[in-house]
Assembly symmetry: C2
Homo-oligomer: 95 residues x 2
């Protein structure tokens, strides 16, 4: 399942930590937006990790948009990187 994760982090240090944590799980598509193809277990683990890095009193926030296959196909963009195309599977030739 594709999850779009957008974050609003008030301090540069915390934002860098959040960015580094997300880098292990998905594609950085905009300054504060990642697209992550995650299993349920991975999402729980990631969400717990990110939650520990947040300072909600200072106004930090993270939003999780879980997209079904149909909503994934409807992603549109002007400029920036191509949306992740989950419908194509790259089959590596056996040598």
């Amino acid at each position: 399942m594709l999850t779009v994760i957008s974050y609003d982090i008030k301090s540069d240090t915390r934002r860098t930590k959040i960015y580094k944590a997300l880098k292990d799980y998905g594609d950085w598509v905009q300054y504060s937006v990642f697209e992550c193809d995650l299993k349920e277990q991975e999402l729980l683990k990631l969400r717990h990790r990110l939650d520990t890095l947040l300072n909600k009193e200072e106004g930090d926030s993270i939003r999780y948009y879980h997209l079904c296959a149909e909503c994934c196909r409807k992603i549109e963009r002007d400029g920036g990187t191509m949306p992740k195309d989950l419908s194509t599977v790259i089959v590596k030739k056996q040598r």
Copy 2:
């Protein structure tokens, strides 16, 4: 239909113009993310307007995530504003 619009704009002037354009159409939920409940026609008009404000050569980008009712119900967040709840309709008492 709820559309999540996230933008990455390199110049403050253009970003302000994009913000002002989006303010007419939906809720500002994070620094560069809006949630807009739009009809097809409104989306086309908004997208055209935003496209004219972009400078793609400088790296500006906008992403549109169109969420079905089921994906709307699954929006999650840590910190920040409540996701738009489209299932509740506020009925004004007739006086």
